[in-house]
Symmetry: C2
């Protein structure tokens, strides 16, 4: 029940999701009094498909991950992930502290055999459709082996959730020629070429939004900068556009007339529709919502969890990794 | 006279710049017959302020840098940089192969004392004003010392060209807390804190476009991905907007009415106004234009060269570095 807005976002989003998805059951983990008050405010209550699980502690957005893990054993985050571990829930969704969520999920659920560290993967819109990008910040310095693991995980995620049999995988680099890039990327390129993935070679930053790839792989430092730069640029463009349309009476009139078009445009690039990053590589499904998510955005994170549970993503990744491992040692 | 469009862009841009800047003199370096034909087409000719310098070879956009350097000693790129070296020109502007330009400039002009490798720096628009970002791809793996050198060079460039006495410098990272980031960034953070620069600490990707910093420092891999991702995203947004305004007769009418606003908006984020990246850290001024630059964009690259020559940028960077070095060894 974390994030920047707490229950005022997560509870309404949960109620909406229950209404939209008849097969869904939700456990709201957090301080019972606060959750109950919010449910009451919304004229809702616990029931067969909506259960409250009390957790007395809260991981703050600025708590260091190690400290959250060590000293807050009854945090909503920890309790929710414990539920996944024990089979009481099939997935955990959180809008809380990313570092703490990653550390807790890794400690409680453990990584799949063959995976060094989990990665964070999300979808981004493209000119044609959308693309999955990983890692987005869980791993700052990556080995070529890790980049290969990211590619495998991303590829399986896309084929499981979207039914694409052979997702196109690109490796993010700063030039398309084989000679460019750092050592990790060059080595990963060779390993990917030798793999059974549908590897399409190097891509550059401007290829992310074209839709030519289904999965783009990079280290977490680059991925995080890429993602946040995109957020910042989109924000600046929106700011400039608003400013120009508000300049004077005439431009305001033009805005009024163009409103339906501007709304349709906004809807297509609305980042809320892409909310819900997966912590991939774990024995279980954990979805990270943007901390600043609103009701609609948080609802999308719940839907992402549902889709991954329905498609057995962690099990499929585990199976494919085992097959890869057998093939490699054969 | 390179780039994707050759003389059809560079020659008209040169003529326009001469018209706008009475103190400017230009030497057009390249195949004399081709340049003369283009001048003739535009009813122009050589004169006191416009001279042709013949160069028989052309560096292609896909020539490996080392090969261009070794085997094309009479390329327009090489001849132009030789002119800077010998004092025949005060700056070189090229829309050609970036790697070859960097290798040639470094070989011919040499780096300033105290600089390991030159960096590529450009300006990007922000919500408030603009920001200088470096490195954008010349250095894939950077030491903390190099990141510090980038900060020094960027800071001097901004204070020289824009008259800002104490430019605000940020170091690109994936979290604002001191504990995040890779080793090079953490060490560079300490070195920057100890420096005499107006260092403001870590910034994240979404801080690039806010205008809170004057200079943002990162390694060339991250910077290149950041820059190209921004290009790709802007392209996608423009594509979506066009699509929505072209949907039907009503939206086309709305577009017509909103046209002046859309033009004003487009002008503000027009990347052509930011064309012209500086190869900083050399004994001389070399400006790299985007390969796909049009006349207006290439003109901006010429103006950037003019501004840096007028403000003695390489000399000032050299002086400040010498002062830093003396301070460090004192």
């Amino acid at each position: 029940m974390g994030g920047d807005h707490g229950v005022s976002v997560t509870v309404p989003a949960a109620l909406q999701a229950l209404q939209d998805q008849p097969a869904l059951k939700l456990i709201l983990v957090g301080r019972r009094d606060i959750i109950e008050a919010e449910l009451q405010r919304l004229h809702a209550a616990e029931g067969e498909r909506l259960v409250i699980r009390h957790a007395s502690e809260v991981v703050n957005m600025d708590d260091p991950p190690a400290q959250a893990l060590r000293s807050k054993k009854d945090s909503s985050m920890r309790v929710a992930i414990n539920l996944v571990k024990e089979g009481g829930a099939q997935a955990a969704v959180s809008a809380g502290n990313t570092g703490a969520l990653m550390a807790t999920a890794r400690f409680v659920l453990k990584t799949l055999p063959g995976i060094d560290r989990p990665a964070i993967v999300t979808t981004l819109p493209t000119t044609r459709d959308h693309v999955h990008v990983l890692d987005l910040g869980a791993n700052v310095d990556c080995t070529p082996e890790q980049l290969l693991q990211f590619a495998v995980m991303g590829s399986i995620l896309v084929s499981a959730v979207e039914g694409k049999p052979k997702p196109r995988v690109g490796l993010l680099n700063i030039g398309e020629e084989d000679i460019k890039g750092n050592e990790a990327v060059k080595k990963a390129n060779e390993m990917l070429r030798a793999s059974s993935l549908n590897y399409c070679g190097f891509v550059e930053g401007d290829d992310i939004y074209t839709g030519d790839m289904d999965v783009i792989v990079c280290d977490g430092f680059v991925g995080n900068v890429m993602l946040k730069t995109s957020e910042g640029l989109a924000h600046m463009i929106a700011h400039y556009m608003k400013q120009e349309f508000r300049r004077n009476l005439l431009t305001r009139l033009a805005a009024l007339i163009a409103l339906p078009v501007l709304h349709a445009f906004k809807k297509r690039v609305d980042p809320r529709r892409y909310n819900g990053a997966t912590l991939v590589g774990l024995n279980g499904t954990v979805i990270k919502s943007h901390g600043g998510a609103d009701k609609m955005a948080f609802g999308h994170a719940i839907l992402e969890a549902l889709a991954e549970v329905r498609n057995n993503v962690p099990e499929r990744i585990g199976r494919e990794l085992a097959a890869l491992d057998t093939a490699a040692s054969a």
